[in-house]
């Protein structure tokens, strides 16, 4: 659902503030500082960071441009490991049987089950590869507007956190209220009138 795909899902942000100094340089530095690691960590269930738009699997900002006309364009990559519940159940059953056989008991305690589950999740987490998701970010720096090609809550929240860390600028989601506050040219009195509106009742 990215920028150059046939359909798009988009959420928008107003970016509060401006960067001191050269925006192009500082944005590039922020992207490099919070780029996704080249080597996947076998311990992390979730890893997220920036990658160039043209190179989502090799976060090399020296090789690929982030400037496209008046925009900065890059991607947020989220690598997530998720272990299917049925896989955990399968290994749990095998381990529980082994443990009962070894101890000669007919049951195992709740605590033992929890320990086994943790051990299995830990083991599988190391073995399972992370699945990457790519969300493109189109930023009109001068207009302080940014388009994230995702409407998924988790992706939006990750984006907001990483963006703030990377550029020290706060992304504010654009929805009816923030649109009035940040993108309209209403006078203060009109804004006050808008903000005192209540839901319409159409029935007589």
């Amino acid at each position: 659902m990215g920028l150059i795909s046939s359909t798009h899902s988009i959420s928008r942000y107003h970016i509060e503030g401006k960067i001191e100094g050269s925006a192009a340089e500082e944005v590039r530095n922020g992207l490099i500082a919070y780029s996704i690691p080249k080597i996947e960590s076998e311990f992390d269930a979730l890893s997220a960071g920036w990658t160039p738009f043209e190179s989502p699997y090799n976060p090399d900002f020296d090789k690929f441009s982030i400037q496209f006309g008046a925009y900065f364009l890059f991607s947020l990559r989220v690598d997530k490991k998720s272990i299917p519940t049925r896989l955990i159940q399968k290994y749990m059953a095998i381990e529980i049987e082994k443990k009962m056989e070894k101890s000669g008991r007919q049951f195992i305690s709740k605590n033992e089950k929890t320990e086994i589950k943790e051990m299995i999740i830990d083991l599988l987490m190391h073995k399972i590869p992370a699945v990457p998701s790519i969300y493109e970010v189109l930023w009109n720096y001068e207009e302080q507007t940014l388009y994230l090609f995702s409407t998924q809550k988790a992706a939006n929240e990750l984006f907001e956190t990483i963006f703030l860390k990377s550029f020290k600028l706060k992304p504010v989601r654009l929805f009816p209220y923030t649109l009035v506050e940040t993108k309209s040219v209403f006078s203060n009195s009109d804004k006050d009138r808008i903000l005192s509106l209540t839901p319409l009742k159409y029935t007589r």
Partner: protein
């Protein structure tokens, strides 16, 4: 500015009221080019889905979803009569010869399933920058139309004759079904 989460909940009705007004404007054949003050020929049509919600007496809600390319909207108009409002709508927007299809949600203003006009540029080599800029132009164009309409709608809502004219016209439209 208010706390963002609180403001989102407090003012989500503005987006829903706006989408209801868009439906009304389409059905009563308002001239969108005039409304937007645009030289382009801009038309809007209801697409293949519309979702309405109705707050029931207690904390529960009634949700009415109408889907399908040729779906009748009778259930939707009945829901409006019962006091529902539009929370999500699929629209077809034509700007001159360019056609856009998308779904917009009132409370979040998120756009999903946006189909922009076709482009001949390729995803590889030298044409990538041109493709990106063209796609960006299309995506931003639709927001420009929707934002301008939203702000025009708010202008009407806070105008002195809203209760006598704007709201009354919507009420008349609803009872006309």
């Amino acid at each position: 500015m208010l706390d963002i989460a609180a403001a989102y909940n407090k003012y989500k009705f503005l987006g829903n009221d706006f989408l209801t007004w868009i439906w009304f404007s389409i059905e009563t054949q308002k001239n969108f080019s005039d409304l937007l003050g645009s030289k382009d020929v801009i038309t809007l049509e209801i697409g293949n889905s519309i979702v309405l919600e109705n707050q029931l007496g207690d904390k529960s809600k009634e949700k009415i979803t109408i889907k399908g390319d040729e779906a009748g909207l009778e259930e939707g108009t009945t829901a409006l009569k019962k006091g529902a409002w539009v929370t999500q709508i699929n629209l077809m927007c034509k700007i001159n010869e360019d056609e856009y299809k998308f779904t917009i949600k009132g409370e979040s203003y998120n756009i999903t399933g946006l189909k922009t006009p076709k482009t001949d540029l390729s995803k590889t080599g030298d044409e990538i920058e041109g493709l990106v800029l063209e796609k960006a132009f299309f995506c931003l164009k639709i927001y420009e139309v929707i934002d301008t309409l939203f702000l025009k709608y708010l202008e009407q809502r806070v105008s002195d004759n809203w209760n006598h004219k704007g709201l009354q016209e919507i009420k008349n439209w609803i009872v006309s079904f």
